[in-house]
């Protein structure tokens, strides 16, 4: 195999990683855009989505046997419902009462929730890695599309297609619907929004639910891509996704996707050049570089503390 085709494969790998980070980063960036707060437990919601999908697949295959596509599809839907429920519960329990508090308070309680959920899964589900049932993931990972010398798995196509679709949908939702107007109004000024009749609490809850459901999709994709589920997977992916959101300019939907793509490509190239164990180091280097040169992110607006 020539270097060129290896490079192409690496780039494809990078783009599909980036697409997954983008799905998670969208959740961070939406919550940040509306509330101005880092939802630190978002990575854990992603992890819950992974596990909920495997539980759902287990349940359905126990009830009516292994129908691959049906179980997988229902599994993704169940994962989205569960993640959304967890996201809503986090908002209701840990953030809503602290909405007007000092910046430190919701951030700390988010870290608390994140640690709690990680160790909840650690203690109740498994301390070790759990394998994603291969019977379901092989369907998408062994079948490939061929473009000349390059092979792309169905899963990579699905990941990339889904990310584009969701990003487009989100862009439409935010810019061209009544809900989007309400969302932007809430982001600008909660008090004013509530005065003109926007149900601020419901809008914020909706933001959390939407972001969490997207994270669940990403979770199932990652679980199929890597074939393993770990209790701290959310923390690792969450950190990367948040870095991506900062890279692109936090609070900015296209920025999150751009940042995630850059991050995914950086990782893939690092793997090629130095070995995958250096991924965290180069990612951090890129983050510091962007913060030094362009503090508000690649596509970000002016970021300043609100008075």
């Amino acid at each position: 195999m020539s270097y060129g085709s290896t490079l192409t494969e690496i780039v494809i790998d990078g783009i599909s990683r980036g697409a997954v980070y983008a799905l998670v980063a969208l959740g961070y960036t939406m919550v940040y855009g509306v509330l101005g707060m880092i939802n630190f437990a978002h990575g854990e919601v992603f992890m819950i989505g992974m596990f909920a999908c495997v539980y759902a697949i287990g349940l359905f295959s126990t009830i009516w046997g292994s129908h691959a596509l049906l179980n997988l599809g229902l599994g993704i839907i169940v994962a989205m419902i569960f993640s959304a429920a967890y996201g809503y519960a986090n908002e209701r329990i840990a953030y809503r009462r602290l909405r007007k508090a000092h910046v430190l308070a919701p951030l700390t309680s988010a870290i608390g929730i994140s640690t709690f959920l990680q160790y909840f899964i650690f203690l109740t589900v498994s301390k070790e890695k759990v394998n994603f049932p291969r019977y379901y993931s092989d369907l998408l990972t062994t079948n490939r599309l061929h473009f000349g010398p390059v092979e792309i798995t169905y899963l990579q196509v699905a990941i990339f297609g889904l990310t584009l679709l969701i990003m487009g949908g989100l862009f439409f939702l935010i810019n061209f619907t009544r809900l989007g107007i309400a969302l932007r109004a809430t982001a600008q000024d909660q008090l004013m929004a509530s005065l003109v009749g926007i149900p601020v609490n419901k809008i914020i809850a909706f933001t959390f639910i939407l972001g969490s459901a997207l994270a669940a999709v990403a979770g199932v994709m990652v679980a199929m891509y890597n074939n393993v589920l770990v209790f701290d997977a959310g923390y690792r992916v969450g950190l990367k996704a948040f870095t991506a959101a900062i890279l692109g300019g936090i609070g900015n939907v296209p920025g999150a996707v751009l940042g995630a793509m850059i991050l995914g490509l950086t990782e893939a190239l690092t793997t090629l050049q130095f070995g995958s164990q250096w991924n965290d180091v180069t990612t951090f280097g890129v983050l510091m570089l962007v913060l030094l040169l362009r503090p508000r992110g690649l596509l970000g607006e002016r970021v300043a503390d609100k008075v």
Partner: protein
């Protein structure tokens, strides 16, 4: 009834979304590469059984809080002039009273207690340092263990390359270098929103740990390293996950008839006293006032002439420097350093200590460190104690006796819950003032 409905609905909802994880068990089917699910009621019962002492203790605390609300005990304490006088004298002269007491402990305590207390001291120092940024200046730092590891690895690598490099030379150097590292790291992100610092420090701790794991010369290592990396590794050989074993000349040794454990304890105590003294003096100086002003309202602070960025940088580098010194002491005490000391859990634990004790209160940080380090340690001994004591054996039911043993595994789960509950109900921490609570909840 109406008052309880939201709570009832919430509990039902939580029960529903945790249902599969608690009451069902995954059963992988390796023949067909698929997965099935099994009903496992014992699994959930075990979880709640292990947590039963926590429920009992929480209930007792709740009873105490309710009783206090009814009888007003805290008002008796805080409004009594005699108590206020005593408290005043205590905070002024406490060091002169406690220092001989703490130092004499090195003579009559056993080796294992001394080691335990030295570890408590290290965490107290870390909590004290983190309190400067998180508590006093209001900047969230999530990768504090990164600086702790930075100090420890600076010490370990220096003693590996230099023939003679004792701990007393490493401490001041680590202070300076740790401060410098904090300065460089804070420079790009402290100009921005406060939450950027949280992520950048978190990324720093992760990157630092990965770096220390990867910089190793291993003959069996087949992963491709570039040529530049190879040269770096010649100097910075950290032996990866295996860790570095320090030379005897660098760790705490015998001095004037005291064994190494006693020396470690005394050094730790002296460093801690010095650190508390310095931090308290700084806190009550114009610098401390500037930190508080930044914490309360950055824009207002800048408008009255507080040099916001410099003050933030000072707070951040000072706390990084303190963590680096703690790292050196850790290395000199244990004689062994591995990448696991800068794990995320470590950072979270130190943060939980600061929050539990009271954000912005140095003594609170010390109390939080002692509680969160010692309680899990002593929980391990509790089952043995119950076994030996006839009265306790009859009071405590048998399943709860086992759960005390398992409770150490639940430590981080409980830390997480404590962080959320503290933020919701007592954001000022255990040793916090009413004023601090208002500041946290209604800025």
């Amino acid at each position: 009834m109406a008052r309880w409905r939201p709570y009832l609905l919430g509990t039902l909802g939580l029960a529903a979304i945790t249902f599969p994880f608690l009451w069902l068990k995954l059963a992988p089917d390796f023949n067909n590469n698929t997965v099935t699910i099994a009903w496992a009621p014992w699994h959930g019962l075990e979880f709640f059984g292990d947590l039963s002492p926590v429920f009992v203790i929480t209930f007792l605390i709740w009873l105490g809080v309710q009783a206090n609300r009814h009888f007003g005990w805290d008002k008796v304490l805080t409004q009594n002039r005699a108590w206020q006088q005593a408290g005043h004298t205590w905070t002024h002269y406490w060091a002169w009273g406690t220092m001989p007491l703490v130092l004499s402990g090195s003579l009559f305590l056993g080796a294992s207690s001394l080691s335990l207390l030295t570890n408590v001291g290290i965490y107290m120092l870390l909590a004290l340092g983190l309190n400067i940024t998180v508590g006093m200046t209001g900047l969230l730092v999530l990768g504090y263990a990164g600086f702790y590891g930075f100090g420890a690895y600076f010490f370990a690598l220096a003693q590996q390359n230099l023939p003679y490099f004792p701990w007393w030379m490493a401490c001041p150097l680590a202070f300076a270098l740790g401060g410098g590292a904090g300065y460089l790291l804070g420079l790009p992100c402290l100009r921005l929103r406060g939450d950027y610092l949280a992520i950048v420090t978190l990324g720093f701790a992760e990157a630092f740990r990965e770096l220390m794991r990867n910089l190793s010369v291993d003959e069996t290592d087949t992963t491709p390293h570039g040529p530049f990396v190879r040269e770096l590794i010649q100097i910075f050989n950290t032996s990866g996950d295996k860790g570095i074993i320090l030379n005897d000349s660098s760790t705490f040794g015998k001095v004037a008839g005291l064994n190494s454990g006693q020396v470690a304890y005394i050094v730790m105590a002296l460093v801690l006293f010095l650190a508390v003294f310095l931090v308290q003096r700084l806190f009550h100086s114009p610098v401390g006032r500037a930190w508080i002003a930044i914490r309360e309202n950055e824009v207002a602070a800048a408008s009255v002439g507080v040099p916001v960025v410099q003050m933030k940088l000072l707070a951040f580098s000072l706390s990084a420097a303190i963590a680096a010194v703690a790292g050196v002491i850790y290395g000199a005490k244990d004689g062994f350093i591995s990448p696991s000391i800068c794990e995320f859990q470590q950072s979270i634990m130190i943060l939980a200590m600061v929050i539990l004790g009271g954000l912005g209160n140095s003594y609170g940080a010390l109390l939080g460190a002692a509680l969160l380090y010692l309680v899990p340690e002593y929980l391990k001994f509790l089952p043995l104690m119950i076994q030996d004591n006839a009265l306790l054996r009859t009071i405590v039911p048998s399943f709860m006796r086992d759960s005390f043993q398992h409770l150490a595994d639940y430590r981080l789960l409980l830390f997480g819950a404590v962080m959320v509950l503290m933020m919701l109900y007592r954001p000022q921490g255990l040793l916090g003032s009413r004023r601090r609570k208002t500041e946290m909840l209604h800025p």
